[in-house]
Point group: C2
Chain length 304, copies 2
């Protein structure tokens, strides 16, 4: 079963099938690859999830008339970074999850070391794919794109977000302060990868500064809404429904919007973020009608 698990469709079915195929074949293994390492890579590539990030990036690049093959490479790279982040997140030293996408986590089946090495393999391949698409760009734009990647994936971005997520309980914040902290972690942990899915392809594809500013706003509001909904799901649903280990935030002392703000205030904040996202989409659509399509299809179904 190599088809994406979720029903999220932001691109033409034929393009989605090609993205799924590009992901499935993203990292060919040489014969004789060590079996634990090979097992991790094969497992994660065989269960691609919704490919939400790849679809978003591809939709943006297609709208900007970027060459299709290079667009698929960039989209695949983002999905590989995301998949690598899930491999690390699920390790015992982080979230200690046992299943993901309805399967036992790779570290459960093949060992922690192999999960780490496999994740590094995905990252290495992702950088190579990014390089291939950046190689088409004017030097100045390639430099901006690589700055954005380094910022989002580095110690100022997702890595700090993940570290704050893990050590959230030790921060001891309460009330409004706790809500702000929860959203700060979400900015590091979640918004960064949304920015890579929306702003990076816009930059690579040559969007205007105005469009990029609107996409920055959309990334932030939608990312915060997405993480808030994920937090809400964590408390509400059983593992069987989400396909990953749930109700863990409370157990692990992790940031969780309804837990920090209470349900009423949390829903109000979510509504505010979704309003912000709608406003950003309206700005984008006013400039370029094609923008209406991808974000309008987005919802809470884009599960990891």
């Amino acid at each position: 079963m190599n088809r994406p698990a979720a029903a999220l469709t932001l691109v033409e079915p034929r393009d989605l099938a090609r993205l799924a195929e590009a992901f499935r074949t993203a990292l060919p293994l040489a014969p004789g690859t060590e079996p634990h390492l090979a097992g991790v890579v094969e497992d994660v590539l065989a269960h691609p999830g919704s490919l939400a990030r790849a679809q978003l990036a591809y939709a943006v690049l297609a709208e900007l008339r970027f060459p299709r093959r290079r667009a698929r490479e960039l989209a695949t790279a983002l999905e590989l970074f995301h998949t690598a982040s899930l491999l690390f997140d699920d390790l015992p030293a982080m979230d200690d999850a046992r299943e993901r996408r309805g399967q036992p986590c790779p570290h459960v089946r093949h060992g922690e070391a192999a999960a780490m090495l496999g994740a590094l393999g995905l990252i290495t391949r992702a950088y190579q794919l990014l390089w291939q698409s950046f190689g088409l760009l004017p030097r100045e734009r390639a430099a901006q794109a690589s700055e954005l990647v380094a910022h989002c994936l580095g110690v100022a971005g997702i890595l700090n977000g993940q570290a704050e997520d893990l050590h959230f309980a030790s921060l001891g914040a309460a009330g409004a302060d706790a809500t702000a902290r929860v959203e700060r972690v979400a900015e590091g942990k979640t918004v960064t990868l949304v920015r890579l899915s929306l702003v990076l392809p816009a930059l690579v594809g040559g969007s205007s500064a105005d469009e990029i500013a609107s996409l920055e706003r959309l990334s932030r509001t939608w990312g915060l809404a997405y993480q808030g909904l994920d937090d809400a799901k964590d408390g509400l649903l059983a593992s069987a429904e989400t396909g990953k280990s749930t109700a863990r935030d409370g157990l692990l002392g992790r940031p969780n919007l309804p837990a920090a703000a209470g349900w009423d205030a949390a829903l109000e904040r979510l509504a505010g973020h979704l309003d912000g996202a709608r406003a950003a989409i309206a700005e984008l659509t006013a400039r370029r009608p094609g923008w209406a399509r991808p974000p309008a299809g987005l919802g809470a179904s884009a599960a990891g």
Copy 2:
């Protein structure tokens, strides 16, 4: 103390001081960076080791008249990749080491999760630095350079070597077969990073195909000799002398040349590799007298 630990000097003292400074300041942290993550990054950047890989790469690029600042960036990137690999190697799921460079390992002081996130931070920054130096190159050469990086750092290179290292005991080889397997692991685990230190800068700096072939040979023979000497040290020296946890290969069932081949045969193989390295250096020197300097200064003192 921000000076390199070992006495290995392959470049002018002023250049070495600049390389040390470039490494020390390679990853500035924003105020408010999560303290465990910040602790790992600060610890590893404060204890740079011999900077052997950075010195090698810089020496090659200097000989090829590559712009000095970009040469330092590429050299620093290689040292960051190497340092990240040590952070992963030392984790409990891998070598379970407790000290490195005379200090407690970062995962011991700051936790495993922070060690992984810090390592990923070094890798992210290293790719950004590589991009900056590749940005100067003709597109074709930049593409070759990024292929080499992806090959050496990916599942066909160091990651497979590390996976084979960890699962070596389960392979159950003996005799001549065991020796071949030990060296196969060393090719993945050690030779790949030597190739990045010698062949990558030669490619980036515009060496001829002949020179690159000689540097490939030098990388392989010198890498195998280096790993064989490291294996020998593992059995012979106490922790106090090497500054890292030792005598672990036997305990952990890891590949070790003298253990696999016996001391006599191991020393014979080492001599053969060193002869091969000398021959490669002679080829290089015959073409370009400047090559004589860096490799001639190399020896067994380039400890990790």
